[in-house]
């Protein structure tokens, strides 16, 4: 059941669809890897987080990476993405000066 008003999915439904234990989602929240919204006394995740949660599910259930590892990896991936953006900007900057 998707709650139309705010595009939220109750965690219970999410876990049933993805066949993951609710404790896993709770742990992701504890590690600040996802956000949980409570509405009408129901804990939900936003649909915008699905892609990220699917990735975290793959890390844990398919690659056998524990939560501490996922936490470390997520932080490093954020850094990788920031650096990749920075490289892109620097490439554009280099291109600018190489046209001198």
């Amino acid at each position: 059941m998707i709650m139309d008003r705010e595009n939220l999915i109750p965690i219970q439904d999410f876990c049933s669809i993805y066949k993951v234990p609710e404790t896993f989602i709770a742990s992701l929240y504890e590690y600040e890897l996802i956000e949980i919204t409570t509405t009408e006394n129901t804990q939900c995740v936003s649909v915008t987080q699905i892609k990220n949660i699917e990735k975290l599910i793959r890390f844990h259930f398919e690659m056998d990476i524990n939560l501490e590892g996922i936490h470390a990896i997520s932080n490093l991936l954020d850094k990788v993405e920031t650096l990749q953006d920075e490289i892109k900007k620097l490439h554009n900057k280099i291109d600018f000066y190489e046209r001198e």
Partner: protein, 295 residues
């Protein structure tokens, strides 16, 4: 279509047990999975090979067929025919990694042996479709104005609007135009990376443009008017008397459009390169000498 040694890909001997295969696969997947290697095409390629090797070796029926006939892959067609006469293969899949993969991610060798990916999750888990990544090369002039363009992604035509002012390397997301969702899951997204080629004489830094124009000595000394090329046409420009070499002037709003801000433009910066006359006549030399004596 070369023979692919799946054992070599996973780094395991031919007599490896299922446990060995799983272990080797997981080890390599942790190294090359695209989730762990964002925007790394080499890792993605490597992972596809690993995934394919696992697809074959982790399933006893596939592995048997591969072991018996893999090297003699030309006979695969015969197997394919035989297979088609049988019921459609619906075997239980071993666990495999999901993510951004579809049938086209398997090699021709694999397709010939096993007739395409039989990759299905053993459960009815609902998953988002794979995200597609595409690159689009455009000239700087193309992105000066917003325009529509039709792209063909996986044999489907998608008409998109490319907003003016898009940057080189910028990625835009077209929601829902990726792969189909699994078990009624939502579709993936399409990510387009723009590769903007600048074949103009303007240099671009975000929304500002830069160019250098030659100015003759007399215009520089006495002032005058020059015609300057801007990105959207020519403009006449007044030159102040006694303009120095390297002087930079700014033409407001004559730069590049600001991304997704209709009607807003950056500025155009023009640097003057003063050209001194050459091949002076005797008369000119005489006059310049006279001038120099006045200073």
């Amino acid at each position: 279509m070369p023979y692919i040694d799946y054992y070599k890909i996973l780094g395991i001997p031919k007599n490896a047990t299922e446990k060995d295969i799983k272990k080797a696969y997981r080890k390599l997947a942790r190294k090359y999975h695209p989730d762990l290697n964002p925007n790394d095409k080499e890792a993605e390629k490597k992972f596809k090979e690993i995934n394919e090797a696992n697809e074959v070796l982790s399933h006893p029926e596939n592995r048997k067929k591969y072991d018996e006939h893999g090297k003699d892959w030309k006979h695969a067609e015969e197997f394919e025919k035989a297979k088609q006469q049988q019921q459609q293969y619906q075997g239980n899949r071993q666990q495999q990694y999901s993510g951004n993969f579809n049938e086209s991610d398997f090699s021709d060798f694999f397709e010939s042996m096993f007739g395409g990916s039989s990759k299905q999750r053993s459960s009815n888990t609902m998953f988002r479709g794979q995200d597609f990544n595409a690159e689009l090369q455009l000239n700087l002039k193309d992105v000066y104005t917003s325009h529509k363009r039709t792209l063909t992604v996986n044999n489907k035509n998608i008409r998109i609007t490319i907003p003016a002012g898009i940057e080189n390397g910028q990625v835009i997301k077209i929601t829902g135009h990726g792969g189909k969702g699994i078990n009624n899951g939502p579709n993936g997204d399409l990510y387009i990376t723009f590769n903007i080629v600048n074949n103009t004489h303007f240099k671009r830094d975000k929304n500002n443009l830069y160019t250098t124009i030659d100015l003759d000595l007399y215009n520089a000394l006495l002032g005058g008017e020059v015609t300057v090329d801007t990105f959207d046409g020519k403009v006449k420009l007044k030159v102040k008397p006694e303009t120095q070499n390297g002087t930079q002037i700014k033409l407001k709003n004559k730069g590049f459009p600001v991304y997704k801000k209709d009607g807003q433009f950056g500025d155009l910066y023009i640097t003057f390169n003063i050209k001194t006359p050459t091949n002076l006549t005797d008369k000119e030399k005489e006059l310049f000498t006279e001038l120099s004596k006045l200073r």
